[in-house]
Amino acid sequence: MENRLIITKYSEQYYPPTPNNFTLFLRRSIFFQLIRFFILNYKIMKIVIKGHS
């Protein structure tokens, strides 16, 4: 959030979305990330298996 203050208004950097504190918390939470770890593994495996013919 604080980045917005140092970014020049109307520059390219002024417009993209930035994560809020809750999103940042989820990205760092060991418990939440452990669950995501297994889900991401599953999603990657689906792609890997499809790629081999």
């Binding site: 417009y15 930035t18 760092r28 990330q33 792609i47 890997v48 499809k50 013919s53």
Partner: protein, 487 residues
């Protein structure tokens, strides 16, 4: 007896060699691997060598004991010329190679083959950008473990300067107007930024991304659409958001032409010639073929039969020039077999793509400025395996039909973009796209299967990247049940 020669022991070549030795009886058939160094390196982890989180020893190993165990002959040499029809003395195809080991350095020999796999990857074409010399002044690279190790030394000297209150400008990105491999540079800039912030030095640092991409997040694959937070958004937003969160600024649509010790000179799509000062630069060079030559039986130069103008090998792609609007996934190769000489294959970066994936753009002065097509590790490994499977089938059945296929227009790819190392504080974005080359016929709305395409930042991504480092090195080392680990 079949005689198979593999050129290159990178992801594609080593994977092919591993499956060939597994699928063929080595008493009956001969497998030879030719590579200028006897080392296998897990290139994706160079990023961590470049920020001092791993040593080169942790990401590489000596292939010779493994090849001995596998019954593969290893020749430490560089391929130079191809004779697919043989010559007046030798009746089968052969390659002329130059030894690169201590004892016979510079000596040339001819290595005959029945089947040839050219998996020599890219030539890192630093020469194509004036002054882009890794190790020179303030210029670093992470393309090899040696380069990455130097990058870390240079980075440390800059961190020390910042500790002493000096301001430093870090410029990271692409170093040629048509460079590819943006993903690697993207990872490196995020890791450098992470290390700067970890030391509380962000006030002294300005971190800048410079890229030939039309928009951020293009990554040479025309960007991708990912579902997130109730929206389907382009990777442009994803990449920009990552940078804004970290206060990294960017210069896009930039074709870097020249560097001196403190300035990067570039042209943009508007045709402006601009300069960017820097104190530390890590710019990915252009990729090209190795400049191999090919000759027919009479000694006539037939290089254009084997190689595209960029020096990469021609395979079963459709190279007919056509406008961007007419590109389809059918242009992309499936078997990596050379159309003129069916016993020659080129998996991995060694094959010439039919065209880029991103739309080619030209500046007002006529300079092409856009990202070339990437071929990341996972597709390169899959291509290596498919090539080995087809050769094994050909040898065992005598049937030359290529039954195994792996087109970048059908296969997906997973890429974990590291953004900081640490089991508690680390982070990485897990990205998957399927297929790599967008298929606008099958997926008219988003170009790819939106259900399997994702981009998710978080600590879990770091765990995955870390796990993959050990998993893929385990596989490459041929440890028990290595073949159960997919490419």
């Amino acid at each position: 007896m079949a005689n198979i020669v593999v050129l290159g022991a990178g992801i594609a070549g080593h994977t092919a060699a591993a499956y060939l030795q597994k699928g063929l009886n080595k008493k009956e058939h001969k497998i030879t691997v030719i590579s200028p160094t006897p080392t296998y390196q897990w290139i994706p982890s160079n990023i961590w060598v470049g920020v001092g989180k791993m040593t080169p020893e942790e990401i590489k190993f000596d292939l010779r004991p493994l090849y001995k165990k596998w019954g593969i002959e290893f020749i430490q040499a560089k391929a130079q010329s191809f004779y697919p029809e043989g010559d007046e003395h030798i009746n089968t195809g052969f390659v002329e190679v130059e030894y690169n080991n201590e004892e016979n350095k510079g000596e040339k020999i001819k290595v005959a083959y029945d089947y040839l796999i050219n998996a020599t990857g890219p030539k890192l074409n630093f020469e194509a950008t004036e002054g882009l010399i890794p190790g020179n002044g303030n210029i670093a690279s992470v393309c090899t473990f040696g380069h990455a190790s130097h990058a870390w030394e240079l980075l440390q000297s800059k961190l020390d300067k910042m500790k002493n209150g000096e301001k430093q400008i870090f410029v990271i990105g692409t170093g040629h107007p048509t460079a590819t491999c943006q993903g690697a540079a993207f990872e490196y800039i995020l890791n450098v930024d992470f290390e700067i912030k970890k030391r509380g030095l962000e006030k002294q640092a300005q971190v800048i991304w410079i890229t030939n991409e039309y928009e951020l997040g293009d990554f040479g694959m025309g960007g991708a659409f990912i579902p997130k937070g109730g929206f389907i958004s382009n990777t442009k937003l994803f990449a920009e958001s990552y940078f804004v969160e970290r206060n990294i600024t960017w210069i896009k649509r930039a074709g870097v032409k020249k560097l001196d010790d403190h300035t990067i000179y570039y042209e943009n799509l508007d045709g402006e010639y601009l300069e960017q000062p820097y104190d530390f630069a890590m710019l990915i060079p252009g990729f090209a073929g190795h400049g191999f030559k090919a000759y027919d039986k009479t000694g006539k130069d037939i290089s254009d039969k084997l190689f595209a103008p960029n020096g990469l090998m021609k395979v079963d792609a459709d190279y007919t020039p056509k406008p961007f609007e007419e590109w389809t996934i059918k242009d992309w190769p499936e078997t990596y077999q050379n159309p003129s000489y069916h016993n020659i294959f080129a998996p991995g970066i060694a094959f010439a793509p039919p065209h880029s994936i991103s739309k080619p753009m030209t500046s007002k002065n006529g300079t092409p400025i856009f990202a070339s097509a990437p071929r990341t590790g996972m597709p390169s490994g899959i291509m290596g395996k498919v090539t080995a499977d087809n050769i094994i089938n050909w040898i065992k059945t005598g049937n030359a039909t290529m039954i195994h296929k792996a087109s970048m227009g059908r296969m997906g790819a997973a890429c974990i973009v590291s953004a900081g190392y640490g089991m508690r504080k680390g982070t990485a974005a897990t990205m998957t796209v399927s297929p790599v080359v967008p298929d606008w016929e099958k997926f008219p709305q988003w170009g790819r299967d939106i259900k399997t395409t994702m981009g998710e930042p978080g600590l879990a991504g770091h765990w995955l990247k870390w796990l993959m480092h050990y998993m893929f090195l385990y596989k490459a080392k041929g440890l028990p049940f290595w073949w159960m680990i997919p490419e």
